[in-house]
């Protein structure tokens, strides 16, 4: 078997056309890695500038009423992820700017896609685009050629006559072509690692390794299937066109159709419906800006009782701050319900889409590629949750200052000083540890492995029924 693999690799190395194509591919892959990193760096530069600018505005607040500061608010920008230079996932469509303020949980806005005319339907020239769409095609051609050339030259017959087992022949050919894909994949991963060595952590390596593994399995599936078709069909061109059809259905057609369908099976509300429902629920709580609000009155009575006084003016604290926080606390329950609902629906959509991997391993690859690169919807939602938690902490700190910072109820002119505003930390995104979200990709990995086993079984069957002439 090793002899056949070695021969195959020698053949690939000796073939001038193949060397030229390989050289071209390697150059394009390296360019994609370089451009991906360059683009991530440029975006990171803009991100750092914007972040510093906004932070400097916040720490420059000299004197301001804490509630005015809650309305003044701040902005959080979506950071670039180190692995986004390989697969940027959903980043170009999700929006980049999120307003953090009192009374409301905002949505992330100003996506890159909304800032220009349509360009590429399949995204930027990232390595993932080449590794997902283009390299598989090359591997299909190679795998097809590997068998068809043997058939046409009669070497296949000769090999079998010499005692080589058909299964070992097909497996060797699969491994040889897979090894070629493995090399291309390694070049991408190694060049990426070398160019990012100083910024890489063990988490990066773990993610990169899993990314590498999922692509490697997918390549084996695709190559194995091509070899199977090539061995089964007498007319080799039918094998090739069938595989091209499969490539088209797997990578262009099915993901698109399935994703559109899952959104119909598990529909999301329209923005207007979503807002109306939230406003309705919100109106049932305390109105922080309305002193005559009935629920506010109840809270007032409770606080007066707590402090043992009979009027707000006798309170040693600022009741306005307490009412504002109660308003926030109620609002948070409403946001959790509605935004939580959105997340639930999107989770259902994702689970349904993941099941598509049963008929299409490309879907599993797509999920793992985006996921391991840390740029799928799951990671995006995690970012949004972190921002919302930050918003809640920030507003609570401001309301506490308003309530207990030394002012009295109704004193809206009271201001907190610069030291207080400086003491409030800036938002710091904590990258999601892969181990904490790995369970979400188990199905994708399992389906890829299931496909791998299925392909091995197909190869065994293909070897038994191989059309030698």
């Amino acid at each position: 078997m090793w002899t056949i693999i070695k021969n195959e690799i020698h053949f690939l190395c000796r073939n001038r056309a193949m060397l030229m194509i390989s050289f071209g591919f390697i150059v394009v892959l390296l360019i994609s890695v370089f451009l991906g990193i360059k683009q991530a760096e440029e975006q990171e530069k803009i991100y750092q500038e914007a972040k510093t600018h906004l932070r400097s505005q916040w720490v420059s607040i000299k004197e301001m009423n804490p509630h005015s500061a809650a309305h003044y608010g701040t902005y959080v920008f979506k950071p670039t992820n180190l692995l986004s230079s390989l697969d940027e996932g959903v980043n170009s469509v999700t929006g980049n700017v999120l307003r953090v303020e009192g009374h409301v949980q905002n949505e992330i806005v100003h996506s890159e896609a909304s800032q220009m005319i349509s360009v590429s339907k399949f995204g930027k020239l990232k390595s993932s685009l080449l590794l997902k769409f283009i390299v598989p095609l090359l591997l299909i051609f190679l795998a097809f050629y590997s068998v068809s050339s043997e058939k046409q030259s009669g070497r296949l017959k000769l090999l079998i006559l010499q005692g080589a087992k058909p299964f070992y022949i097909v497996l060797s050919k699969t491994i040889a072509v897979w090894f070629y894909g493995f090399i291309l994949l390694s070049i991408v991963v190694l060049s990426y690692t070398l160019l990012n060595l100083s910024n890489s952590t063990s988490e990066t390596f773990l993610r990169l390794s899993l990314l590498f593994l999922s692509y490697a399995i997918y390549y084996f599936i695709l190559i194995g299937l091509t070899i199977y078709f090539s061995t089964r069909w007498l007319r080799t061109t039918i094998a090739l066109t069938s595989m091209l059809g499969i490539w088209m259905i797997w990578s262009v057609f099915l993901p698109n159709i399935l994703m559109s369908s899952v959104e119909k099976w598990h529909p999301l509300p329209s923005r207007a419906e979503f807002k109306t429902a939230m406003i309705e629920d919100r109106s049932k709580g305390i109105d922080g800006h309305n002193p005559s609000d009935a629920r506010g009155e109840e809270l007032k009575e409770k606080v007066l009782k707590e402090y043992g006084v009979d009027s707000i003016s006798k309170l040693p604290i600022n009741f306005d701050g307490i009412r504002m926080q109660a308003d926030e606390d109620y609002g948070n329950i409403v946001w959790d319900k509605h935004f939580g609902n959105l997340r639930k629906v999107q989770k259902k959509q994702k689970e349904a889409f993941q099941l598509g991997g049963i008929v299409n391993p490309f879907i599993s690859l797509q999920n793992t590629s985006m996921g391991f690169a840390g740029n799928d919807n799951l990671h995006h939602q995690e970012f949004l949750v972190q921002v919302e938690n930050y918003r809640r902490d920030l507003i609570k700190a401001l309301n506490n200052e308003h309530a207990f910072g030394g002012s009295k109820t109704g004193n809206w002119g009271w201001t907190a000083n610069n030291d207080f505003y400086k003491s409030i930390p800036d938002f710091a995104y904590k990258s999601v540890a892969l181990t904490s979200v790995l369970s979400n990709y188990v199905l994708d990995i399992a389906l890829l492995l299931g496909w791998l086993i299925f392909i091995l079984l197909l190869l065994i069957r293909g070897a038994k029924k191989m059309q030698v002439i």
Binding site: V28, L35, G36, K38, Q39, E42, I46, Y47, H53, Q57, Y72, G73, V90, V93, G95, N96, V97, R99, E107, V109, H110, S111, E112, A113, S114, M116, I117, S118, V119, S120, K121, G123, K124, L125, L129, F133, I134, L137, L240, T241, S242, L244, I249, V252, F253, N256, I257, S260, V262, E263, L268, S270, R271, A272, T276, S292, Q349, K350, D376, N377
Partner: protein
């Protein structure tokens, strides 16, 4: 006559090839699915606009009742006074819609990147959060929706490859090409006729799909011009691929090299070039994080609010010289409340400036992309189709500009009516809502 024979012969070739028939059927099914996706979005947007409109009417009726009953506003908001222009305009519930085109059935374009309804007040801006896209799963947006334009732009060339990949080469490989040459003096004409057969066949399928699309939305009634233009564009697109593939067939010798070359060209034009252009534009002009807009809507506005009323008044007079003739302006004592409530006009000037500079930056990106059209034809056709179906970036930019005009109009009404101390009645309120 000979060409007709080739056509007829090719038809027999085609019907005897189940692989090609299946490919064409799949293409048609994808087309039908894509048309339904476009039509669904069109109907969904229409329904949403109708729903919002009826809600707005109900809300307005509530305000009209205040005027009729002599009530100043909602009971739980005693500070609201709908006879004051400031509050009357805030409760005008003025919505601005981007009405979907019936031609959306053919291309949803950039529809899903933008909002299509917006409540306009004197404090709004075209970059407000509610101008963002409808709620959608980002992974679905990233993968894209399979609409008719996707079928045309990406699947049609693939179908063409499947239909013609063996034209000429099959005969060559089987060794009877010379026999064909004896019957047809020119191999090029013979090849061209065969390729043209598949081009015509594909075009007829596309026309059939487009006609099917007219039953899903009222394209013929509302957008007959767009229908004709789209047909022409699709024809041009098909001709482009046919010509490219014809030259491949003309120069290639076997099926494998034909297929390789055609798939290579397909990947180059549909994947590599658009992706490279996209990457290049993103490096050259990274996504704008809107800090200028944030500054305009926050810090600069904050500074405005801290200015004395006299300065604000002077700036307002500079902006609207008509103010000089109003009651407040002619009073010897400046009405501070009127000035404060008119401040939105100056805020609008600030945001307008920043919105314009952001739009200009986007246009610069667009120009860069448009300059690549000569070697990036798929993106050219994609944007042309979007333009015809009014789902292009520019259509949303126009929508955004219209919103800005509506804001300007409302700001002017606010300032002049506030300065003129107008007491709003039902008639005037209805005028505000127009």
């Amino acid at each position: 006559m000979k060409n007709l024979n080739v056509f007829l012969f090719e038809w027999r070739h085609f019907v005897k090839n189940p692989f090609k028939i299946v490919a064409l059927i799949l293409f048609m099914l994808a087309g039908i699915y894509g048309l339904h996706n476009g039509a669904d979005l069109y109907h969904k947007q229409q329904a949403e606009i109708e729903r919002i409109s009826s809600e707005v009417n109900a809300d307005r009726q509530e305000i009209i009742n205040y005027y009729k009953e002599g009530v100043k506003g909602p009971e739980d908001r005693p500070w609201v006074d709908v006879t004051n222009p400031y509050w009357a305009l805030r409760y005008a519930y003025k919505y601005h819609f981007k009405l979907p085109s019936a031609a959306m059935v053919y291309s949803i374009g950039q529809t899903e990147q933008f909002g299509f309804y917006k409540q306009v007040t004197f404090g709004s801006s075209p970059l407000d959060a509610d101008m963002t896209k409808e709620i959608a799963n980002p992974e679905r947006l990233q993968i894209g929706t399979l609409d008719f334009s996707f079928v045309i732009l990406f699947l049609l060339p693939l179908v063409l490859i499947i239909l013609i990949y063996n034209v000429g080469s099959f005969e060559n490989e089987q060794g009877f090409l010379n026999l064909v040459l004896v019957q047809y003096a020119s191999i090029n004409k013979w090849l061209l006729s065969r390729v043209l057969f598949y081009m015509v066949l594909t075009f007829l399928c596309v026309i059939a799909l487009m006609i099917y699309g007219t039953f899903l939305t009222d394209v013929f009634t509302d957008e007959s011009q767009a229908f004709m233009q789209i047909t022409f564009l699709v024809f041009l697109y098909l001709v482009m691929w046919t010509v490219l593939f014809f030259f491949v067939l003309k120069s290639a010798k076997n099926i494998l090299s034909n297929t390789l070359s055609m798939v290579g060209i397909y990947l180059l034009f549909t994947f590599i070039i658009p992706a490279m252009v996209h990457q290049w534009v993103s490096i050259d002009k990274p996504a704008n994080l809107m800090t200028d807009f944030i500054d305009a809507t926050r810090d600069e506005r904050e500074k405005l609010y801290n200015e004395p009323e006299v300065t604000i008044h002077a700036k307002l007079v500079n902006l609207f010289p008509e103010i000089k003739n109003t009651k407040t302006a002619q009073d010897s004592i400046l009405n501070k409340r009127v000035v404060r409530r008119s401040i939105a006009a100056l805020g609008n000037q600030l945001t307008k400036k920043s919105v314009e500079s952001i739009a200009e930056e986007s246009q610069e990106k667009n120009r860069k992309i448009q300059n690549t059209y000569w070697f990036n034809p798929v993106v050219y056709f994609q944007n042309q189709l979007n333009q015809e179906t009014r789902t292009h970036y520019q259509n949303y930019q126009d929508y955004s500009n219209n919103i800005q005009s509506a804001i300007d109009e409302q700001v002017k009404e606010l300032v002049l009516d506030m300065y003129d101390t107008v007491k709003v009645d039902e008639k005037r309120y209805l005028n505000y809502t127009k």
